[in-house]
Amino acid sequence: MTEEHKGKTAENTETSEKKKEKVGPDGLTKRDRLKIKRHAMPEQAPEERITNFLSVVHGYTLEMAYEEAQRCLDCPRPKCIDGCPAEVDIPAFIMEILKGDLEESYRILKADNALPAVCGRVCPQEEQCELTCLLAKKGPVAIGRLEQFVAEYMLDKYEKEPPKVEKIIPTKEKVAVIGAGPAGITAAADLVKMGYEVTIFEALHKPGGVLNYGIPPFRMPRRILDAELGSIEQMGVDVRCNMVFGKTITHEELLEDGYKAFFLGTGAGLPTFMGIPGENANGVYSANEYLTRVNLMEAWDFPNADTPVFVGKNVVTTGAGNTAMDSARVSRRMPGVEKSYIVYRRTRNEAPARNEEIEHAEQEGIIFKYLTQPIEILRDDKNWITGMRCIKMELGEPDDSGRRRPVPIPDSEFEIECDTLLVAIGQRPNPIAMRSIPGLEISKWGTIVVDDETMMTSVPGVFAGGDAVVGASTVILAVGHGKQAARAVDAYLAEQRGGS
């Protein structure tokens, strides 16, 4: 790191005389650190960003990252790590920023998490590491932004001067990973590091799972995603796309082919519809279809990319999770759209999306209609949607989930005029993979049943994790499961070896 990037140093503070206090690599004491304010994320202005699909956040500059890193107290018993499902050694990677060794900082991140650029951008840090950070109340260290900074800085650097990657020569058994979402990618990366010969079988034509088909490029730029995903192939994982497990290849065939263990990271890709009249009207999409068209198939760039998407003037999205926010925000950016609504039957407090996503959506002019439940989709004689009949709701007694249950207000029906409807009320696991393995136990919610400790399913040697096990959840939970399962696969195969 060059001199001018150092930000606050011992020279420009008046604290150097307080010799007894613990002094960090930058010469600052705890008291100095507490004075530094959390750095805001530089972003595209809302009116600008709704005209493009470029990254909303610009990311920290080197100076900002350095100064933000200075806020970390490098606690002796760091609580932030407890908040991270991937158990990333957070203080260690931050201290390397202060030392100016971003390469080492990146190495520390990658040691515990194959997807730091992704996680830096999309994790709900406010509920995880930043919640357990000692400074949480005052304004936690911006761990996610620092993680994003280090990962993207290094990916950029490696793009210009590719590092010498040692391809790991496998010495152990063949392991099949099904699904190239965050769970599968993580399990594969950890297993290949342990010496296994790992093949990922992915149904779609590109790896990434939801990261590629669901999360829009303005939240997860594809150049960064591709670089991060590409690194696992460099490590020696064989990623095979266009392979539908249960259709193109089966469990039995892979066993015959010498695969000794399996990890199912098949996600929760099955869309749920509302079950109200008119849902098959033209102009009504599942959020999955809409986002897949726009993100994976690049319909935002039609006709340069071949896949089209129809979007009208008034777009309604139902639901209030991350998927709904992404759908509404994509719509705001599509040419010709005048109004993008979110219709949700509860209130902002109960909305499952990350607060940051809701804020971003509000800034972008998404119109929120809370306490509103769709009851019928109105159509013209050519089956095109013309509007939606809704009913007003109020919050009643808490339900099983502890959230107050929305109940309809009698005689409060009204119509919203719209020509596009995006249904984003939830996803369930896709049954193709799991149904193809005889004896695999599936819960009544359609998720794969696993042992909490080992992530092993009811079929010996078959492990599972991520959304396929818990239903639609988070990237970092999938990463955590992938790691846990990789350790369990290793233990299982060691035992098999010992036993034979």
Partner: protein
């Protein structure tokens, strides 16, 4: 000679002005494909995902046969690929296989490109001991495809053209109704333009002849992930790519399907026009 590689086109032939037959190397798919299943292909790295029925599969050679019509940009672009060139992506086999049993008199009603899709089904039905009667229809003689192949796997074949330029003049439902009235229809399966399948369903409804329609809605992933392919069957929503593509024709809401198939027609037109502008030589030949 070098070994053919996955996704390589090893055979290409134009069957009629806008209908082509290609054979593609896809050993894993060829090994498993059953009559009625389909693949999804992409022609290039920013291409659409297009579903195509597997018209034939040769497990030994590891190749599948696809027969398609140039109707939009993607299929025109596919038509440009020559033997020795590669499809960007091929995935499958997708969907359920057609249920093949011994029904007795099994009638196949195929229109246009549907004939190619029915070929492996006719062969399988015959192998299962059925008396296979095939009715093939097209608007004109030059739009008929694979009639000879169909003849070779059918016990009887009836060809109709709208203008009478070949076979019987008229539509496929006329001979179908005759067979139904004669009591010679124990099972019917149909594939072709949606409107034709609708009339086939009507022709067999009253007599209660079990009738399957092989539906071709818009698809994206083909694995149940998006719901683009949803169809109403007996009042319930089903995903054609994973629950079908064959459904009880008497329960299909064909009107809804036809309207849903038109969702993107303006975009498809625009895409094709742009492509034809860049390929003036093709614009003259058909379009």
């Amino acid at each position: 000679m070098t070994e053919p590689k996955p996704n390589e086109i090893v055979f290409k032939k134009r069957l009629s002005e806008n209908t082509l037959r290609i054979e593609v190397v896809a050993p894993l798919i060829a090994k498993k494909a059953q009559p009625g299943q389909f693949v999804i292909i992409r022609v290039h790295s920013r291409g659409e995902r297009i579903p195509l029925t597997i018209a034939d599969a040769d497990a030994e050679r590891g190749v599948i046969t696809l027969i398609y019509q140039e109707v939009g940009k993607s299929t025109y672009a596919l038509g440009e690929l020559e033997k020795g060139e590669f499809l960007h992506d091929v995935v499958g086999p997708l969907g359920h296989a057609t249920p093949i049993e011994k029904y007795g008199n099994a009638i196949i009603v195929a229109g246009g490109l549907g004939t190619a899709e029915m070929y492996p089904i006719a062969r399988a039905l015959r192998a299962a001991g059925n008396h296979v009667i095939t009715i093939v229809g097209a608007r004109r003689k030059d739009l008929l495809v694979m009639v000879e192949e169909m003849e070779s796997v059918s016990d009887e074949i009836i060809v109709t053209t709208d203008d009478g330029s070949f076979g019987r003049k008229g539509v496929v439902t006329v001979p179908l109704k005759e067979l139904v009235e004669e009591g010679r229809a124990d099972f019917v399966i149909t594939c072709g333009p949606t409107i034709m399948m609708k009339f086939v369903a009507e022709a067999t409804r009253e007599a209660g002849v079990p009738t399957l329609a092989s539906l071709n809605p818009i698809m994206v992933d083909g694995t149940g992930m998006c719901g683009a392919c949803r169809v109403s069957i007996g009042g319930k929503t089903r995903f054609a790519c994973v629950d079908g593509p064959d459904f009880n024709a008497h329960e299909v809401d064909f009107e809804e399907l036809m309207m849903r198939q038109k969702t993107f027609c303006d975009f498809e037109r625009k895409s094709l026009d742009l492509w034809l502008e860049e390929h003036p030589e093709r614009a003259q030949s058909g379009g």
